[in-house]
Structures are given as structure tokens and as C-alpha cells.
């Protein structure tokens, strides 16, 4: 017992004496955490909703529709997210007269331009993921649906999408985690996200290891939670694709 307390003493002293992990810095990390989660969650949600119709239209027979969506995904997958963020945040702000319009309400706050860039970016990737998955629908399923006399819309709704979206799940899970990690650039446009909070604490206390290792651990917890969620979903929703035992 005596020995145990001498072992712990340095740690306790450090906990009491350190000025890096205080209520103030935890409040900073908390702000960062809520901003990161908010930003990533909302952009993924809108991106997902946008991506489903876009992925269907991406495979449409209509040349103009198909090509324009291809062009959009090509553009957003072909340029760095950081550049897209800069354009959304700094670019629009310098359109003459924009401060006078209702748009300024959104541009004034860094959160909205960041949401715009993140949403359009994830929607582009997700569109391609879903498009690939729709394309890979087994020919037999489509023939069977046709044989039942289903309309195109009905076939899409009942046969193609349910199985395609399920098969896209593992790839989409990756996209979600990528998005979480990519969101670490949000601090360059003055948003206090997790990385921004860590950077602030690093710069204030000159303690790179404490600040960044702690924030890395937070990101890791978030990543693992997302992974666990997708693992659960895959187990439930992809049960029919498992080899029979």
C-alpha cells in the first residue's frame, strides 16, 4: 500500500501542478468537439440525402444530366478539400456587394461556408460510391424485376436501391471516417474545431505533445465509434451476403 502511493504520487502531483488540463482548456476542447461533430454530422447527412438522387441520375440515359453530374463529381474529387474550403470562405466574401444581400447571413459565420464545402465534397464522393454500387447490381435481379412487370421507378425503389445501398455500406463507412479526419482543416477558417482547440492550447502552453496527443485520442474515440456503428450495420444489413454455413 505504501509503495502504491509513492508510485502514484508523481502522477497526482502532476495532475495538481499542470496548467494544461484545466477546466478552461477542457471547455476549449469541448467547444472543439461539438463543432467538429456538428460540422461532420450535418455535412454527411445532407451529403447522403443529395447523393442518392445524384447517383441514380449519374446512370441516367439523359446525356446532359449524366455528364453534368459526372463533371460535378470530377471537379470535387479532383481538387483538395482545403482549396474548396478557401473558395467557399474567402472567395464568396469578395463578390462585390454580397455583404448587402441575405446571403451574408450565411457567409458571415465561418460554419456555413465550411458546411457548404464539406457537404459538396462528401456528396461527390458518396455519389460515386453509390453509382458504382448501383452499376454492380446483378443482372439477374433486374431481369427478374422486369419479368414481374415492374416500372423503372418501382424497380429502382424496391430492387436496385435496397441492395445497392447495402453493398455500398463498407465503402461509405470509409467515407464517413475520411470526412471526420478531413474536417481537421476547418480551423484554418477560424472555426474552433478539435484541431483548432488543440492548436490553441499548443500555442498557449508550448506543449505540443500534451495538446496534440490528447486531441488525437479524441479523434480516435470518434473514429472507433463510427467503425463500431458501421460494423453493427453491416452485420445486420449484409447478413444475406454472408456465405452459408
Amino acid at each position: 500500500m505504501e509503495q502504491l502511493s509513492t508510485l502514484w504520487q508523481p502522477l497526482l502531483d502532476w495532475m495538481n501542478g499542470n496548467d494544461i488540463f484545466t477546466p478552461n482548456t477542457f471547455a476549449m476542447y469541448w467547444t472543439g468537439l461539438t463543432n467538429t461533430v456538428q460540422l461532420v454530422f450535418i455535412s454527411l447527412l445532407i451529403g447522403l440525402v443529395l447523393a442518392v438522387p445524384l447517383a441514380i441520375a449519374r446512370g441516367s440515359r439523359n446525356q446532359v444530366l449524366r455528364k453534368s453530374i459526372w463533371f460535378y463529381t470530377y471537379l470535387f474529387r479532383g481538387t483538395p478539400l482545403l482549396i474548396q474550403l478557401y473558395l467557399a470562405y474567402y472567395g464568396f466574401a469578395f463578390i462585390p456587394g454580397i455583404q448587402e444581400t441575405w446571403l451574408w447571413f450565411f457567409l458571415d459565420d465561418p460554419l456555413y461556408p465550411a458546411l457548404l464545402a464539406f457537404t459538396l465534397n462528401t456528396a461527390a464522393y458518396t455519389t460515386e460510391i453509390f453509382h458504382g454500387s448501383i452499376q454492380a447490381t446483378p443482372r439477374g435481379e433486374i431481369e427478374a424485376a422486369r419479368a414481374y412487370g415492374m416500372s423503372k421507378a418501382k424497380m429502382m425503389r424496391r430492387i436496385v436501391l435496397p441492395s445497392a445501398l447495402r453493398r455500398a455500406l463498407p465503402a461509405y463507412g470509409n467515407e464517413v471516417i475520411f470526412m471526420l479526419h478531413a474536417s481537421a482543416i476547418a480551423f484554418v477558417v477560424s472555426i474552433t474545431d478539435l484541431t483548432g482547440a488543440a492548436y490553441y492550447i499548443y500555442a498557449r502552453f508550448y506543449a505540443p505533445f500534451a495538446a496534440f496527443l490528447f486531441v488525437a485520442a479524441l479523434y480516435m474515440v470518434l473514429s472507433f465509434s463510427i467503425q463500431a456503428l458501421f460494423k453493427y450495420l453491416e452485420k445486420r444489413l449484409l447478413a444475406h451476403l454472408k456465405p452459408a454455413r
Partner: protein, 258 residues
């Protein structure tokens, strides 16, 4: 016997050498340029700035002959140790790490921090009341950031940027109501480069020391205690006779001298 005399002579030489490092007639001062308005060259090549003018005034007061030696920042402390020059006067902030290596004079100034706003701003004196709900721009992790975060963090929105130029861009775009920056940096990024669009408001701050630090000091080799004392004495005299104030207002017209 001879041996004893030699030894005692050596001892005497060593002892005096230790007690009194060297009598300086000419003092070479190392400086890293440019850092406007502290030390820089005018277009015709003459060295000028607050440090230079104050340094020359100090030398005159102490009746020393001074010479400036240009030295890059990275090599400025090693240069002092290697006797390439005898002092450093180059906006060097006094801190504990440096104190282990070198000897500092009394602080001769604390760089002021200043508030900047767009020209047509209605904020005239920044305080709890006038900054309520405003967005304040700062450079992330600077002393200004710490000060603003602790004082106004709870009822104003603080936006942190990597550089003063990023602050300037967002101020120009109209996203920031006010910025709090180190005065020379903010003046260069906002007032000088975007002429007529921005101004400084309110009082410049150098206190409390907890945030703004001890300030700049002149650095010497550790053994040159006497030389440091000479400079401290001269500095006190210049502060008394008003020379210091004249120089300070010449370079920082809007700031209140300490």
C-alpha cells in the same frame, strides 16, 4: 621560490580577470534587420528604428562608442557568445530560457498591443460593454489571443487566425468588427498596406505583465555584469530626462509610454 611567485602572479591575473571582465571603450551591438519599426534600413541605407535610436542615445549617455553589427536572428546569441559583438539590442523578449544563456538589462520597452477597426467603426474604446456580441480577430496563441480570450471570451466571439494577413482579409470582407494585434504587426498588415481603410482605436496595452510579458531587454554575456549595469544606469537617466519619451512617441505616436 620562483615557482611561488609565478603561481601567485597567475592567481592575481586570473582574479582580476574574473572580477572585472573588460573595460569597454567600443561596444559592438548585434541587431537583426528588418523589423519595422524597431530596426530597419531607410531607402538610402541608413540604419534606423526605435532600437537603433535608443541604443545610440544610451551609448551617448554612457559615453561609450557604439557600433552596430548586423546578424541573422538564428545566430544572434551564438554570435554574442563568440564575441562577434558585445551586446544584442534587437527586440529580444526577456524569458527564462534565454536567461540561462545570457544576461539581460532591465526591460527597455514592452511591445504595445493595439486594437484595429475598419475606418467607419463605431467602437471608440474597447471594453466589456462595447465588445459585447462583437467578433474579435486575433492571431492564434499569441499574447493578444490569451488576453482577449480571458477578458472577453464569454460574451464576444473570438476568431483565431494563423497570420495577421488572414485577420486583414476577414476584416476587409466585413466578418470582423475589431482586431487585437501586436502594434507593429497590425500596423503593417492593416493600416499601412490597406491605406485609409483601417485605424487604431482605444488605448494600446502593455499591462498586465502576466499577459504581455517583461518586454524587450538588451542582452550581454553573463560575465559582463558591469556593462549591463552601465546600460541600466543610462536607461534610467534617459527615462528621467525625457529622451526616452521623445523617442517612444516618435515611433509609437498613438501609444502611451510606460
Amino acid at each position: 621560490m620562483k615557482k611561488i611567485i609565478t603561481l601567485s602572479l597567475m592567481g592575481a591575473v586570473l582574479a582580476t580577470g574574473h572580477a572585472q571582465a573588460r573595460d569597454y571603450d567600443t561596444v559592438r551591438i548585434g541587431v537583426d534587420i528588418p523589423y519595422v519599426p524597431m530596426e530597419y534600413r531607410t531607402p538610402d541605407g541608413t540604419l534606423t528604428g526605435f532600437d537603433i535610436d535608443l541604443g545610440n542615445a544610451l551609448c551617448k549617455q554612457a559615453e561609450l562608442d557604439c557600433k552596430w553589427v548586423i546578424q541573422g536572428w538564428d545566430g544572434i546569441i551564438p554570435g554574442l557568445q563568440a564575441r562577434k559583438f558585445d551586446a544584442i539590442m534587437s527586440s529580444m523578449t526577456i524569458n527564462d530560457d534565454r536567461k540561462k544563456q545570457i544576461l539581460f538589462s532591465d526591460p527597455y520597452m514592452t511591445p504595445p498591443s493595439a486594437w484595429f477597426t475598419p475606418k467607419d467603426s463605431t467602437i471608440s474604446s474597447p471594453n466589456e460593454e462595447s465588445l459585447k456580441g462583437k467578433s474579435i480577430g486575433v492571431q492564434r496563441g499569441t499574447v493578444q489571443d490569451n488576453y482577449v480570450t480571458d477578458h472577453y471570451g464569454s460574451n464576444a466571439s473570438i476568431k483565431r487566425y494563423a497570420t495577421a494577413d488572414d485577420v486583414a482579409i476577414d476584416m476587409e470582407a466585413g466578418r470582423l468588427d475589431i482586431a487585437f494585434l501586436d502594434y507593429p504587426t497590425g500596423k503593417a498588415a492593416l493600416v499601412d498596406s490597406k491605406s485609409g481603410q483601417f485605424k487604431t482605436v482605444g488605448e494600446m496595452l502593455t499591462e498586465p505583465k502576466k499577459y504581455f510579458g517583461e518586454g524587450f531587454g538588451i542582452a550581454f554575456r553573463k560575465r559582463d555584469r558591469e556593462l549591463a549595469e552601465t546600460f541600466n544606469k543610462a536607461l534610467a537617466e534617459l527615462k528621467d530626462n525625457g529622451t526616452y519619451n521623445t523617442l517612444y512617441t516618435k515611433y509609437f505616436p498613438d501609444a502611451k509610454a510606460e
